[in-house]
Amino acid sequence: MLNAEKRKTLLLLIPVILVLIGYVLYPTLRTAYESFFHNGVLSLQNYEDFFGTKAKANLQALWNSVWISLLSVLFSALIGVPLAYIFNRYEFPGRRFFSNIAIMPIVLPSLVGVMAFMFLYGEAGLIPNAIKDLLNLSEVPFKIGGISGILIVHAYTMYPYFYMTTASALSNLDPSLEEAASNLGANRFKVFWQVTFPLLTPGLVAASLLVFMVSMASFSAPFLLAGGFRVLSLQIYFSKINGDLEMAATQSVILSIVSIVFLLFMRWYQGRKDYRMASKGIGAHRSEVSNPLLKWTMVTLGVFAVVILLLPHATLLILSLVPEGTWTWQTYPTVFNLENYTMLFDTPYIWEPVRNSLIMAFIACLGVFVFGIFTSYALVKRKFIGKNLLDILVMIPWALPATVVGMNLILAFNSPNPFSFGQILVGTFWILPLAYFVRFLPLVVRSTNAVLEQLDDSIEEAAQNLGAKWFYTFRKVVIPIIMPGVLSGTLLAFVQAVGEFPTSVLLYTIGNRPISIEIMNQLRMFNIGQAAAYGMIQVALIAVVMFISSRFLGVKAEKSLG
């Protein structure tokens, strides 16, 4: 009897561990294993090729990835932090609206976002051409592409991480601390640098690490914008396309090592005891801007930011109304109608990718939902040896770049093994739902962890004390309480899975091609309108999910992203 609790824990852990070993650990190790083979012979040749003098391209790509990521951190911080400070510390007309818009880049799936940027600011982009025509220039005044394109897209899509951490740190900051500093005679400058800023640092460091990781993993932006410029996540894709799986494995291992080191560093940093606020009941604390000049400068800044932030969405909407074959040599599109949307419903091959994405994302999310709840429950509420290790194992797919996750699955499941029930999964329908499952498991586990940690142990004990068995308690008490958090996490995973590009491009088959692949196909055929219409479907889906989350589940969906 003494072991009843331990038995329950064990029963819970066995499936969790099996799934994690089969679909996370084994593929990762398999990749590492493959990387030590060259033409089927055990050797370090691949690593020599990577680091050696012969093939500079790979090392160059690694180096490019690193400094692009560093610059992405810098630019994201330079946009996100001041914006958060202004929108959270000063009261001026429209402040609330501006601060809601500030997280809009999150509503843009990466591939769709990059596409919108291309048509906005690229060679044939609407903005450069509009300026050219307005000012009667002979050439476009600027265009993005290559490094500048990647950096601008990164800054746009990643600054919200800085914005959100800064905003939440500022709202958790007890105003009386700053008041105490002023009271002791510090001027505003001193107060900021000696009190406010040090208290923001933990959040800023966390955001920097996150942006660095996300940027190292970034695939869509370099894929569409890089031109000849090489980054490591893209190199993996090229190696795979060229059929050099062993080199792809080696590159994946290098990128994995960087990512996992960052994951461990981040865990260590966040686990450290830091100076959190001890005081409770912190009220909002915003200075009313009374100086009219300053006030209207801020409003202008807000309006300007909103325009910049929403331009990609607007572009997407406009482009989606351009029917096929009507925008060829003209500078601007001239015909607008709903053809691209109606075709979704009356043309099967247009509708098919949408259906595929929805079905595959649904399957993956069903798995993530069930499995995520049990995993999170085991991690938060059960005691066992090796918990820390399990926690890291769950987070690995989150830390690994999507390209690497895709490669791992290719290498693990292009031959039969027990975890695929003796089947070859690569080239079948099931490999993509599996990839989405692995990719988005950490997201659901994290959002479930957050609600489970809020759930006091005494609630379960009370149910038990009243005579309820464990499973009854779990069904009738635990699940209903945590459901909003789990659902919002799962919904977010769902929309991300619908838009997922990097793993899709490595693993899709013609039969199960998802939306993102079809967007690429349409772009290749210069059918921009249809591609944009696909993008709009995703944007709409995300908007619906965020609305449901905040309205019915009381959860800010974007919180789960951080």
Binding site: M1, L2, A4, D456, S458, I459, E461, A462, A463, Q464, N465, L466, G467, A468, K469, Y472, K476, V477, P480, I481
Partner: protein, 365 residues
């Protein structure tokens, strides 16, 4: 209803011993309190009765049934948690009905029983409310009703009043006692608040460092503490190190180093606790026993001093008397008008009545 019998209970968490070699017999229908500072093992003991922990060593019995390793859901105890642990997604009614639903009681009986108990805790108007809409005191009553409705053999209360404000606490104290008497249910009450313990309990067990120091009625615990920890933890007291100086038929004398003098104590079990030769000794005098006067007092154990501070609390007046530069004694008298307040700095006489002093051994750790 049942008795609770803990014998030779030890509970270890890793290397830390939370409860050590505990023997307790809680009688049927008794209101029994575990009292002690935080980390003393009282909550751990309660949780072993509830079944959330299993003892490392020893046996837990309800009546004659061995419950040592029976899981909590099969013990039929009703527990009220410190934070109430109400199910946030259920109404008041659903919370209270939970235990009956688990017991597969039919709807009509459930409804009757729940309404009945809600009436008893005076919440019948609130049955359909969400628990988050209730005040702290009301939530407390829901928790009580939820524990009582299953007609448990034992009611377990884990610091149930610690989250309430002072006035509500008084009210709930009376409420809990009323319900306990009405249901005549064996009750274990955990608290660190000595006033709660003294006013509510039939008997009290005082815990410190995982060991039960003393079990007794409130008056026994207050008047005849077995060691200096119990004397100091319950109520206020003047505690001084003493050494036995002489022993007679009806009185004993002890040397008080801090007073540089001897005091005389009646040689009765009320005034002298059991101790052995090797024990360090302490003398405990309750402030309300200390006589302070600006007129010379006759009798034994009278010492001069100077008033250092007079503290007025309304019902009582505390007088702090500096006996010498090492020792200040406190005397408490009921407020009987301005004439009873002494002036700060006044020369006074202090008497420690020989029938009110208690000699106790220092508690071993």
């Amino acid at each position: 209803m049942s008795t609770v019998h803990l014998s030779a209970i030890t509970k270890q968490f890793g290397k830390v011993t939370a409860v050590e070699d505990l023997d307790l017999l809680i009688r049927e229908g008794e209101f029994f309190t575990f009292l002690g500072p935080s980390g003393c093992g009282k909550t751990t003991t309660l949780r072993m009765v509830a079944g959330f922990y299993y003892p490392t060593k020893g046996v837990v019995k309800f009546n004659d049934r061995d419950m040592t390793t029976v899981p909590p859901e099969k013990r039929n105890t009703g527990m009220v948690f410190q934070n109430y642990a109400l199910f946030p997604h259920m109404t008041v009614f659903e919370n209270v009905a939970f235990g009956l639903k688990v017991r597969k009681m039919n709807k009509a009986d459930t409804k009757k029983r729940v309404e009945d108990v809600l009436r008893k805790v005076r919440l019948d108007q609130y049955a359909e409310r969400q628990v988050s809409q209730l005040s702290g005191g009301q939530q407390q009553r829901v928790a009580l009703a939820r524990a009582l409705v299953i007609e448990p053999d034992i009611l377990l209360l884990d610091e149930p009043l610690s989250n309430l404000d002072a006035r509500l606490r008084d009210e709930m104290r009376a409420e809990i006692l009323r319900l306990q008497k009405e249901y005549q249910i064996t009750t274990i009450y955990v608290t660190h608040d000595q006033v709660e313990a003294l006013t509510m309990s039939d008997r009290i067990a005082v815990f410190n460092f995982g060991k039960c120091q003393q079990v007794g009625t409130p008056t026994e615990i207050y008047n005849e503490p077995v060691n200096d920890f119990v004397a100091e933890f319950i109520g206020e007291t003047n505690l001084l190190a003493v050494v036995e100086a002489g022993s007679g038929e009806s009185q004993r004398s002890y040397h008080v180093d801090m007073l540089d003098n001897d005091v005389t104590v009646n040689n009765t079990s009320l005034n002298v606790a059991e101790y052995t030769e090797n024990d360090e000794l302490r003398m405990s005098v309750r402030p309300e026993a200390v006589e302070v006067s600006d007129q010379p007092i006759t009798g034994t154990n009278v010492f001069p001093g100077k008033v250092k501070m007079v503290q007025f609390t309304g019902a009582a007046v505390h007088t702090y008397v500096e006996m010498n530069d090492r020792l200040t004694l406190v005397g408490t008298a009921l407020n009987q008008g301005p004439s009873t307040y002494l002036k700060e700095g006044a020369e006074v006489y202090v008497r420690l009545p020989e029938d009110q002093i208690r000699i106790v051994p220092k508690a071993g750790v």
